[in-house]
């Protein structure tokens, strides 16, 4: 039944749906932060969440890998399914979920360890490598995927915190992809970066689309237009409009979306 709904709403092949959210509510204590959000996120697609500050886009993103569990006053209701499985089911261990749904944060937050250890940490705790050689391989592959390998290959033992902001963020992306996630959540990954680093990360996101479903929260509409195929516009906790990025930007159906993308609200 879920799949039928999805078909009705956005008209795509149900097989491609990665995340299916239905009537999601998020409360911070008494504050109703997310109201009745239903959205289907596609596999191997970049989906952008846009909207003014405080509209709940980050909150919704964090409920997709249950990072909101770490906030005691936060309560999530509704139905969120990853490949048809309820992620809030009591038998789901959030630790396992987060291995499948990786996350990159707004501010680059590498561990104060070496570059190698930053990337190797995830595979180590999940037991993904059977030996040193295999781990080395995973680290290299992840760093290559994050397009930072050439810059750091000679100093893998150097501290991850010693890199520049853009490099740190790409290191964090490498760390996130090292656990072989199926979905990558990115919470304003470029807001702390300069235009050149931003361009590098955007290019990277486009490449990551080959293997993952990428969801990116962004304040920059240009960025949403550049990197995403699907865009969701949030306003005051509501999902106002969701559709193909080109449609949203050229032919918004809702007046609020139009006001936002033309700069009248926000």
């Amino acid at each position: 039944m879920m799949k039928d709904n999805a078909d009705e709403r956005i008209g795509v092949d149900a097989m491609d749906i990665k995340f299916a959210a239905k009537d999601v509510q998020v409360y911070y204590a008494d504050n109703h932060a997310i109201k009745d959000v239903s959205v289907d996120i596609l596999d191997k697609t970049v989906t952008a969440f846009i909207g003014p500050s405080g509209c709940g886009k980050s909150t919704f993103l964090r409920s997709l890998n249950r990072m909101n569990d770490t906030i005691p006053i936060c309560r999530v209701e509704g139905d969120i399914r990853l490949d048809g499985q309820d992620i809030n089911a009591p038998e789901v261990d959030p630790v396992q979920l987060r291995a499948k749904v990786g996350m990159v944060f707004q501010k680059p937050n590498p561990f104060p360890k070496s570059i190698y250890d930053n990337v190797a940490y995830g595979p180590r705790i999940h037991g993904l490598a059977r030996g040193k050689a295999e781990l080395d391989e995973i680290v290299e592959k992840s760093l290559r995927r994050a397009a930072i390998w050439d810059e750091v290959k000679d100093r893998l033992d150097a501290a991850g915190t010693g890199l520049s902001g853009g490099q740190q963020q790409r290191l964090c992306i490498a760390r996130a992809v090292a656990t072989e996630p199926e979905v990558l959540l990115m919470d304003e990954p470029c807001s702390a970066l300069d235009p050149i680093a931003t361009a590098q990360v955007e290019e990277l996101i486009d490449e990551l689309r080959q293997s993952y479903s990428v969801i990116i929260v962004t304040h920059s509409m240009q960025q949403a237009a550049r990197v995403s195929q699907k865009t969701a516009f949030f306003h005051l906790g509501n999902l106002v409009e969701y559709g193909d990025t080109t449609d949203i930007f050229t032919n918004p159906r809702d007046t609020r979306t139009e006001s936002y993308i033309t700069g009248r609200i926000g």
């Binding site: 937050n109 590498p110 940490y121």
Partner: protein, 442 residues
């Protein structure tokens, strides 16, 4: 008086930036006043610190030197056999010593008048010391041996200026004529001042022998207490803080625990002392005066300090590190032990060492569990018995000395304070080094 209390419609003053307007002048004056106040406060603090240190060093320094009479003494086999054959053996040795001392003084052309009693008053029981030595080292007979004989504490005090010829009253401890003898010995060059090792290594002595009192045994007592405190307070404190800070849900109950921990840090130490007396000694039946009990009491006292500083250190770790770890799928415990705890380590170590330093200087609770007074035994027999055998601790030893009548013990108390301060300084330096070593950027 604040800036905001100025009237809203105050004149804007001239528009030139070269002229300072009234409002700016007022602000600058306020800033200058504040700087002067701050410097004054620091100055007062430094002044008292300097006064404190000069007083301690001036008063404590005499405890670190002692006066000895250096003489070369030869005992022949025949004299040894004869002395061992008499009834009052040590007296025989003393007579032999007096005879040889007389010869030494005569060689130096110093006229001296002394007898066995005056020697005993100035140098203590010399005969006993000599007999003990030769009975243990018979191979040293027939050859000259150098003896450094410690003078009595009053003679020591005379040479350090504490006792004066005019001030003394003749007693069985010291007569005015003995001081003449000391002057003569000094003229003959046999009296020397040397570093007082026995003070640092020795155990406490009886009330009438201040010269022989040492702080060594109580240093060992303090050491065993600190071992107990470290072994108990660090793991318990860190575990409690981690649980409270990272795992516990925020509710009334945890709030109550938090308030109580903060309150415990402010409980007077003597309360912990009487608690220790009631629980550890009277209820649990642990031995009195034992470093084990002292350590347990000090653990109770140190726990709040460690918990508070550990929680502060954990709080200071940026939440982004926790999110990063959780984001790659680390469990709560992995997040804490792999990332948060290593980053909080410098703060935890500093807090622990400051807690230990506090415990090291604590006296009041030790009074109540009997770790004070005369500990005749001195050093413990072995490592394990060090925890259970009666001992004293540094601050308690200092307290005991300060309470004794003989002025020589007063010097000892100040000297003990210097030793205690050296230990505290060492611990604080260790805290700084550890903090530097473990500190990491993020």
């Amino acid at each position: 008086m604040t800036d905001t209390s100025l009237p809203q419609n105050a004149p804007r003053g001239s528009n030139s930036i070269l002229a300072t307007d009234a409002r700016t002048k007022k602000r600058n004056a306020a800033e200058k006043r504040f700087r002067a106040l701050g410097m004054g406060a620091i100055g007062i603090g430094l002044f008292f610190l300097i006064v404190l240190f000069t007083t301690i060093i001036r008063s404590g320094a005499p405890a670190f030197t002692r006066t000895v009479v250096d003489v070369q003494f030869t005992l022949t086999q025949a004299q040894y056999d004869e002395a061992e054959g008499t009834l009052f053996k040590t007296a025989a040795y003393a007579d032999l010593f007096i005879a040889q001392l007389g010869e030494i003084l005569a060689e130096q052309d110093v006229a001296a008048d002394f007898d066995a009693e005056s020697i005993e008053r100035t140098l203590g029981k010399v005969g006993g010391t000599l007999r003990e030595f030769y009975r243990a080292n018979e191979d040293q007979l027939d050859q000259p041996v150098n003896f450094s004989l410690a003078t009595s504490s009053r003679v020591d005090g005379y040479l350090k200026g504490r006792v004066t010829l005019e001030g003394i009253e003749d007693s069985r401890f010291l007569m005015a004529s003995d001081l003449d003898l000391v002057d003569e010995l000094q003229a003959a060059g046999v009296i020397k001042s040397e570093f007082n090792w026995p003070f640092i290594t020795g155990a406490d002595s009886g009330v009438d022998n201040p010269g022989g009192a040492g702080i060594g045994a109580s240093v060992v007592g303090s050491f065993f207490m600190m071992l107990v405190v470290l072994a108990l307070a660090l793991p318990i404190g860190v575990a409690a803080s981690i649980y409270l800070e990272e795992f516990a849900v925020q509710n009334r109950f945890t709030d109550l625990i938090e308030v109580n921990i903060s309150n415990l840090a402010a409980v007077p130490s003597i309360v912990f002392g009487i608690l220790g007396l009631a629980v550890f000694i009277q209820f649990a039946g642990l031995p009195q005066s034992a470093p084990l009990v002292g350590g347990l009491v000090l653990t109770l006292m140190t726990l709040p300090t460690i918990i508070i500083s550990t929680r502060a250190a954990l709080k200071a770790v940026p939440p982004s590190i926790r999110e990063a770890a959780l984001g790659v799928g680390a469990s709560k415990m992995q997040t804490v032990f792999h990332h948060v705890l290593p980053l909080a380590m410098p703060g935890i170590l500093t807090g622990t060492i400051i807690g230990l330093a506090q415990a090291l200087g604590e006296t009041a609770p030790l009074l109540l569990i009997g770790m004070v007074g005369f500990v005749a035994r001195g050093y413990p027999d072995g490592f394990l018995t060090g925890f259970t055998e009666a001992n004293s601790a540094m601050p308690a030893q200092i307290y005991t000395w300060a309470a004794r009548a003989d002025a020589a013990f007063y010097d000892k108390a100040w000297g003990g304070i210097i030793i205690l301060l050296i230990f505290l300084m060492f611990m604080n330096i260790l805290a700084v080094i550890l903090r530097r070593r473990f500190e990491r950027r993020w």
